[in-house]
């Protein structure tokens, strides 16, 4: 195989580097450290962080891309041929899910297709029946008789494995805590569950318990069934949902990453310099802000689509093309949402400018740029951080709406928006095909709820008073 680094992959890893650098900086700065400790002590915040971490792992696995080597029919001397299809580490782990497609709809954990089809008997007579699935439950000889027992067995095995893993995990946490605090394991264990630890380990462990008790059975069942059913073209819905996570994360994080430098630089400059500079920057963001978000996005995406279509030769694979569109969407969303942060930072910089420590630096003749970098920026970082975490959930929700409207990601990109778009007419079917929508709903709800709870914890820890002024992404996509 040959590794492929898509643009968004590169940016995701850049983001990871930025986040680690910020983490390192926070460790060595007592103010930031104590704020993070507050986040660590918040039970809702830590439970949310645990969930987000799991989503992040899925997203990161899905960001390690490669092109598999094709089985070459010829001898060893031939040059390796690589598939045009770009796969990720997640695809490799979930090969089963990816490759075991069915013909069309099948309900969760089913053994037969959802719709009747005309089947021809060996004697040539035809009748209508639910045909067996190609993959789901094929190991059963007599599905009606064995199905329930098989499900129960797999479920139990999964739950037990989940519980076992959890026990190991909890043990490791308790042991490490016990060693650090030099107290007995039993004492530590009781402290954890009484909530007497600096970090809310009880929330982390409880979240893991819930996660493992769901994930264990799902993994055992997914081996032989489609846990969340299949969609119209027979793709496993669980696979679709897992693949959508990366798109949501990319939109939620990279958008902020690409707009951050502009928002921060312009906001601080406007606030610090005032006068003409301020006038120009204010004019810039008021103008951009006055175009309703959805319409600006719609216009920009339409134009980008034309641009990509007319320059199709630039992209080697379909994945690269879809990736370019995803990245462009991030830029477009960033363009429409930087104004809110910029305005907020301008206002705060305006206040900081009058503070005595800035005046003291001026009295020493410290240069303007240095004052902005050393005195303003570090004292505005918490606002940037709060804005970033608060924007995340709004952007994930916006992606779904935009993709639904047709101005979001490439139709071939897995995303919650495309999932919903594809499934929206299914509720009108008789009987109802509900699983795609429910899967998208559950995944999105958990992701966005976790993001919201985490954002609240961060906001409360870093600056509770900012709440009335930061109101999340100003992308104007409300539907």
């Amino acid at each position: 195989m040959t590794p492929v680094v898509l643009w968004t992959d590169a940016l995701i890893f850049a983001l990871l580097a930025v986040a680690s650098a910020f983490g390192w900086y926070s460790r060595h700065n007592p103010l930031l450290r104590s704020a993070w400790q507050k986040v660590g002590g918040s039970r809702a915040g830590m439970a949310a962080l645990t969930l987000l971490a799991v989503f992040a792992v899925v997203g990161l696995l899905d960001s390690l891309h490669y092109r598999p080597r094709l089985e070459s029919a010829g001898g060893d001397g031939e040059r390796a041929v690589y598939s045009g299809e770009v796969l990720s580490a997640l695809d490799a782990l979930a090969t089963g899910l990816r490759s075991r497609g069915e013909k069309t709809y099948s309900a969760p954990l089913a053994t037969h297709l959802f719709a009747r089809e005309t089947v021809e008997r060996a004697d040539g007579t035809q009748f209508r029946a639910h045909p067996r699935l190609r993959h789901g439950g094929v190991h059963l000889d007599d599905p009606p008789a064995q199905h329930a027992a098989d499900l129960a067995r797999r479920f139990a095995a999964g739950a037990l494995s989940g519980a076992a893993i959890w026990m190991v995990l909890a043990g490791v946490v308790a042991l490490r805590l016990a060693r650090r605090e030099s107290v007995g394991l039993g004492v530590t264990w009781r402290r954890i569950w009484r909530g007497d630890t600096a970090v809310a380990w009880n929330a982390v462990l409880a979240t893991f318990a819930a996660l493992l008790l769901v994930a264990g059975p799902v993994i055992f069942l997914a081996d032989a069934y489609h846990v969340l059913g299949t969609d119209k073209v027979g793709q496993d819905v669980l696979y679709l949902a897992l693949k959508s996570v990366r798109t949501a994360l990319v939109i939620g994080t990279l958008t902020t990453l690409v707009m951050l430098p502009f928002a921060v630089a312009l906001g601080i400059m406007a606030g610090y310099f005032g006068g003409r500079v301020d006038d120009v920057i204010q004019y810039l963001y008021t103008t951009i802000n006055s175009i309703p978000g959805v319409l600006l996005i719609a216009a920009a995406v339409l134009m980008m689509q034309v641009f990509i279509d007319t320059h199709a030769q630039w992209f080697a694979t379909a994945a690269e093309r879809a990736d370019a569109r995803l990245l462009a969407l991030c830029f477009i969303l960033g363009l429409t949402s930087w104004t809110g942060l910029c305005r907020l930072l301008r206002g705060e910089a305006l206040k900081l400018r009058e503070l005595d420590y800035v005046q003291a630096a001026q009295a020493f003749g410290v240069s303007q740029w240095r004052i902005m970098a050393r005195h303003l920026l570090p004292n505005l970082m918490h606002i940037v951080l709060i804005a970033v975490v608060m924007d995340f959930s709004a952007l994930v929700l916006a992606e779904a709406v935009l993709s639904y409207v047709g101005i979001g990601v490439d139709p071939n990109t897995f995303s919650f928006g495309t999932m919903i778009n594809a499934a929206r007419l299914e509720l009108a079917r008789e009987p109802v095909v509900w699983w795609s929508l429910v899967a998208a709903f559950v995944f999105m709800f958990v992701l966005v709820l976790a993001a919201n709870l985490f954002a609240d914890a961060v906001r409360d820890a870093f600056d509770p008073r900012i709440a009335a002024r930061v109101t999340g992404a100003d992308s104007g996509v409300k539907g």
Partner: protein
């Protein structure tokens, strides 16, 4: 105060010009009319003649900014910039790519859009402000705690699910109102009730939480303590003192969207089959009708700027500090 308003209006002009330039750049500079023609015609039918005809039909066959061939002032006016962008200032939107008159389309579709957006806005404001006040009145109790939890949960659900779920339950399972469609006159109520309710429910979470934060911030201020020291009851403190002050930040977020109500809502209208401007915009986006999208972008910006003006004026009503400037 008149000077104040006049000044705000003068401020708005350069912004409108800026918006106009941005739309022009977006629609004609990023991609040339040739690109658009190729896109619209599809790969198979692209011939130089077809492109030329497509452009001529829609008036895109002129130079962008400067017409060398024309005489006198027509050198400036007989251009795409003048015909397609500058004319927007006099609300001359021209024709859609499929030949419809955009201005007429806007006037006929405004009604249904407003019929949904206005009740949603007013009822929604009433519901969320009341709910937020209720939470604040019972602050630091379990009612408040669970109210906030409910808000966070509700704002974590995509608006798409509210619509899909609402339509499924109310229209399909319970059969109370039609799933979608629209009628003129009093009959419209049947079609409007579900989209309005769903839109309100979808927005309750985030708005309530925001208003609650604003109220709480006000409640921590010194003048509230003074009001309590006078022996006033908690409800009087909340309604007479806190609400009046909290209106100032709330207005900033609320008044600005009032003019935009004319544009309706993209998602709601398209889901419920309401023939408003929102669904028209969606159709235009899907059909890649650049002329309509361009008009909507400009119209939306004009309405937003009107909203900014209304916000400024509304401050003078609630904030004596601005009124007596």
């Amino acid at each position: 105060m008149i000077a104040y308003i006049v000044r705000r209006i003068l401020h708005a002009l350069p912004i409108l010009i800026g918006v106009n330039l941005i739309t022009f750049a977006l629609f004609f500079v990023v991609n040339t009319p040739d690109d658009m023609a190729r896109m619209q015609l599809g790969v198979k039918r692209v011939t130089p003649d077809a492109i030329a005809k497509w452009k001529a039909d829609r008036g895109y066959d002129k130079p962008l900014l400067w017409n060398e061939q024309a005489q006198g002032s027509a050198r400036l006016t007989d251009t795409i910039f003048f015909r397609k962008s500058v004319r927007l200032f006099v609300f001359d939107f021209g024709r859609a790519d499929d030949g419809r008159d955009i201005a007429r389309e806007i006037t006929t579709r405004m009604g249904p859009s407003l019929a949904i957006a206005l009740p949603t806005f007013l009822l929604g404001l009433y519901v969320t402000v009341s709910f937020a006040l209720l939470l604040v009145l019972f602050r630091a109790t379990y009612f408040d705690l669970w109210g906030v939890v409910l808000c966070v949960a509700m704002m974590s659900i995509s608006s798409l699910f509210y619509i899909i779920g609402g339509q499924y339950l109310v229209s399909k399972v319970w059969n109370l109102v039609p799933i979608s469609g629209y009628a003129e006159g009093p009959d419209a109520l049947r079609f409007l009730i579900l989209p309005v309710v769903i839109s309100i429910v979808g927005g309750v979470g985030s708005s309530t939480r925001w208003y609650r934060t604003i109220f709480l911030e006000e409640i921590g201020k010194d003048y509230v303590r003074t009001a309590r020291a006078k022996g006033l009851g908690e409800t009087v403190v909340l309604f007479r003192h806190v609400l009046r002050n909290a209106l100032i930040p709330i207005l900033t977020g609320v008044v600005v969207v009032v003019p935009l109500l004319f544009m309706g809502s993209l998602i709601t209208e398209s889901f419920f089959g309401i023939p408003g401007l929102g669904s028209d915009t969606i159709d235009a986006i899907n059909a890649q009708d650049f002329a309509v999208v361009r008009s909507m972008v400009f119209l939306g910006s004009v309405l937003y700027i009107v909203g900014l003006l209304l916000t400024d004026i509304s401050y003078t009503l609630v904030d004596p500090r601005v009124r007596f400037e």
